[in-house]
């Protein structure tokens, strides 16, 4: 975690900026009524901008917010979108006053005070001064946008259009005609070319069939630059443009008096203060659970609203409509809330990587081996809970690599390898997952030794061991109590085996794989979900029971007739586009009453390179769910990640896909 720098340093730098801001503002104040000097405006704008950056860096959110509002206002002023009238200049001068007050509070370590209240009021005041009056949203059809175009905008696109109009950006209709063969490439290129100066709000394929081989598009474009620039960009595409509405400078509304209270006198002390808050993850969990419950309430209200509209009688139509509208508003806010909480939970892996790096460096000194340690991907973000739980498994794998993976320097030299070994810790995003690799360029895993060990421990018969493929053989190291190392090392001889690493990862809905080449090294690949807090789930039904499958591991859904299944070595297999995938009926796996079906709905799940087809009787749809852990009493029940509520207050079990994949795809260690 980034350590907070001393507050005194912040206060000193911020004070300097505010003083500069104040000086320039006085200059502006003296020449009221004149056209402001652009350079001076720019200087004030830059000062507000620096202050915003500095304050947010140090977690002084109030100062950052006020500076942000000032910055936006100055930007509008700088770009000539608003006039430097008395109300605005007065507000700026108040701003300097309030900022000084806030800095004084910060230096005293106070969180509440008159300056804080003034800051909020002032920020709102300035916003109203520069924003177009909110009570009259621009009527889109008055902007010259064709009704036919307006009709095909989604709500989001319409919002984007409004935003652009609100900002006074000019609207154009760009028409481009392309060949049916390559119009998609051409449009992508046109979009890319437009991006630096404009926003493409909508792309409407023209319905008029001009000729068979060509297709025309009408692009609704909000262009921030002069028309000549737009023209220059679109000309190479053979496109033409028409101005719909010119850029409008929103007029400032009438000045609103702001209550002015005497600012407190600055008194500098060195008490530390921060406006960032440390939060116990359990509190965020509770918050998330509350959001989860609200999502259910929302689902119910929605159903209720829809039902009320459909049912007609009983409720006044106005009410039903109102209810629907409110339900939609609730839905949007809940989405924001959910996203917000998820964001708060996300932390960079660098937090744990930094700790690991310190430990690894200590271990390296102790090991006497010459090893370079490389870290990358520390900026990849994961749920805080997962990040915390990762430190032990990762440490174990790193110890393993230092201790068992990398050979002694002389041995390496004798094999023609560089004396210095290399250990890599890498993280990268991969869709819904994060992949973390712990790799070394050491000796690699020894098949024969693993085979001997497995046989001598009675985990496998000699014959079965001889039949195992290398990948399956490697996976034996995850069995409890397995260790190929005869001599227990100071470093990793902690009695924790790879089985514990695997179990820990399983608890995080993660999966671990080994890639190992003899003489080349070993890499452990960890595949983890981004968050466990809220997941998108596929709701399925089997033998009349409802289950939820996390969508993050669902690759696709296929319908298969029973006759299309094949049996290979007593296991049912399914062919998906030429790939053979193990198949299991959920009802069979869970020992539920099975009924013959004409068609299996197969949920094809995959984690890392493993695939499994889980057949269910019905697909009920998708839903965002909060997974609640099953009681500790049920920890030994396999294949379940938890339970959730889909809105009917029943407990619906959530499948533990990594566990099911391991159970079915991985070799069973039975003699």
């Amino acid at each position: 975690m980034t350590e907070r720098r001393p507050v005194a340093e912040f206060v000193a730098e911020a004070t300097e900026i505010v003083e500069g801001l104040s000086r320039e503002l006085l200059g502006l104040d003296e020449r009221r009524g004149e056209e402001p000097d652009p350079e001076r405006l720019n200087a004030i704008f830059r000062a507000a901008h620096s202050l915003k950056g500095l304050a947010s860096l140090f977690g002084h959110d109030r100062i950052a917010r006020l500076a942000h509002v000032l910055e936006d206002a100055l930007d509008a002023l700088r770009l000539g979108k608003v006039a430097a009238d008395d109300a605005l200049i007065d507000a700026f001068i108040d701003g300097v006053d309030v900022l000084s007050g806030l800095l004084a509070m910060a230096s005293r370590g106070e969180t509440d005070g008159p300056a804080a209240e003034r800051a909020l009021a002032l920020a709102q005041h300035i916003e109203t001064l520069v924003a177009p009056a909110p009570e009259k949203p621009p009527a889109l059809h008055e902007l010259g946008v064709d009704k036919a175009v307006l009709n095909v905008l989604t709500e989001y696109e319409e919002h984007r259009l409004r935003e652009n109009v609100k900002k006074g950006v000019a609207l154009y209709m760009v028409r481009a005609v392309f060949s049916l063969e390559d119009f998609d490439q051409k449009l992508t290129a046109l979009n890319a070319a437009l991006k630096p100066l404009a926003e493409v709000v909508s792309t409407l394929p023209s319905a008029q069939a001009s000729d068979e081989a060509r297709i025309a598009f009408d692009l609704l474009v909000a262009c921030r630059q002069p028309a000549a620039d737009l023209e220059a960009v679109i000309r190479p595409f053979g496109a033409t443009h028409a101005l719909l509405s010119a850029s409008v400078a929103p007029r400032p509304s009438a000045p609103v008096p702001v209550p002015v209270t005497a600012g407190p006198t600055a008194e500098v002390s060195l008490k530390s203060l921060s406006q960032t808050v440390r939060v116990d993850i359990a509190r965020l969990d509770r918050l998330m659970a509350a959001v989860g419950d609200l999502l259910l309430t929302r689902t119910n209200i929605k159903r209720f609203a829809e039902g009320a509209r459909a049912a007609g009688g009983g409720l006044h139509p106005m009410w039903a409509q109102e209810l629907s509208r409110e339900a939609r508003a609730l839905e949007r806010k809940l989405d924001d809330l959910q996203k917000g909480i998820l964001e708060v939970r996300m932390v960079p892996l660098g937090q744990v990587f930094d700790r690991l790096a310190r430990l690894v460096r200590r271990l390296l000194r102790e090991s006497g081996k010459e090893i370079d340690f490389e870290i990358s991907g520390g900026d990849v973000e994961l749920d805080k809970l997962i990040v915390e739980e990762l430190s032990d498994p990762l440490m174990h794998l790193l110890r393993n690599a230092i201790d068992h993976g990398i050979e002694a320097p002389d041995k390496r030299a004798s094999k023609g390898k560089p004396r210095r070994g290399r250990i890599r810790l890498r993280a990268a995003n991969s869709g819904n997952h994060v992949v973390i690799e712990v790799g070394d360029d050491g000796a690699g895993m020894d098949d024969d030794r693993i085979r001997d060990e497995a046989v001598s421990r009675g985990l496998l018969t000699t014959k079965k061991a001889a039949d195992l493929q290398r990948t399956d053989l490697l996976n034996l190291v995850f069995l409890p109590g397995f260790s190929t190392r005869r001599q227990v090392s100071e470093l990793s001889g902690r009695g924790v085996g790879l089985d514990v690493v695997k179990t820990n990862l399983g608890r995080l809905s993660g999966l671990i794989d080994i890639v190992s080449e003899r003489g080349q090294g070993t890499t452990f690949v960890l595949t983890l979900p981004l968050t466990l807090a809220i997941i998108r789930a596929l709701v399925v039904q089997s033998a009349g029971r409802t289950y939820a499958v996390p969508m993050s591991s669902v690759l696709e859904i296929v319908a298969v007739r029973p006759s299309e299944l094949r049996t290979v070595e007593h296991r049912q297999m399914l062919s998906v586009r030429g790939q053979t995938v193990p198949f299991v009926r959920l009802s069979q796996l869970f020992k539920l009453p099975e009924t013959p079906v004409d068609l299996h709905y197969v949920v094809l799940v995959g984690l890392a390179q493993h695939r499994l087809g889980i057949a269910v009787d019905h697909l009920l749809g998708q839903q965002d769910v909060v997974t609640k852990p099953l009681s500790a009493r049920l920890r030994d029940v396999p294949g379940l990640a938890g339970a959730t509520d889909l809105g009917d207050r029943r407990a619906v079990l959530v499948l533990d896909v990594p566990a099911l994949v391991s159970e079915i795809v991985r070799p069973q260690a039975s003699p």
Binding site: F304, G307, S631, V637, G639, R650, A651
Partner: protein
């Protein structure tokens, strides 16, 4: 019922509403005359088949009507399933088989399958709170420690019992909550 009424009904129906709102009435109830010798201890008495069992009131978290219980595949047979109690997922056990009572483990899948008197006694426990399905809750009884005897020797159910206690004519079998839920 109109569709609309059905919707309202669904919307308002809360299967997880507790049968007894709280045990607060207990604290407010008048105390019995002190015997001067020993203080009685409070137990919650409930019936399983034909017997009356009791657990210390301090171990009881809540008493709830039987909600929809979700069966947990591949779980031990004593586990009836899990229930959703105001967002918390709790295991529910049927301990009758362990106590060698007739009735045993019956498939109970929903409120419709259980007698109206049936209640789930939610107990606090070290290894996680859990519900025990009972045929009915009788109420709180005050039992004197001096009238409590150890469970009779022999019998496979013995490890799950904490003792036997009498109050007048009634015999209460004291259940060892931790052991019976193990």
């Amino acid at each position: 019922m109109s569709t609309f009424e059905q919707l309202i009904d669904q919307f308002l129906y809360r299967p997880d509403e507790p049968g007894l709102p709280s045990l607060q009435w207990l604290a407010d109830a008048p105390r019995p005359e002190s015997t001067g010798v020993e203080a009685p201890q409070e137990f919650l008495a409930f019936s399983l088949t034909d017997e009356t069992y009791a657990v210390p009131i301090a171990t009881v978290r809540e008493i709830v009507k039987v909600p929809v219980i979700t069966e947990v595949p591949r779980a031990p047979k004593e586990l009836l399933g899990v229930m959703n109690l105001r967002g918390e997922v709790l295991p529910v056990y049927d301990v009758r088989a362990r106590l060698l009572l007739a009735g045993g483990v019956q498939p109970i899948t929903g409120p419709g399958d259980v007698p109206a008197q049936a209640r789930i006694v939610l107990v606090k426990s070290e290894s996680g709170d859990a519900g025990i399905i009972t045929d009915g809750v009788e109420g709180v009884v005050r039992l004197l420690p001096s009238l409590t005897e150890p469970p009779p020797p022999g019998g496979t159910e013995k490890p799950f019992l904490a003792g036997l206690s009498r109050r007048g004519e009634r015999l209460y079998i004291l259940l060892d909550v931790e052991k019976v839920l193990e």
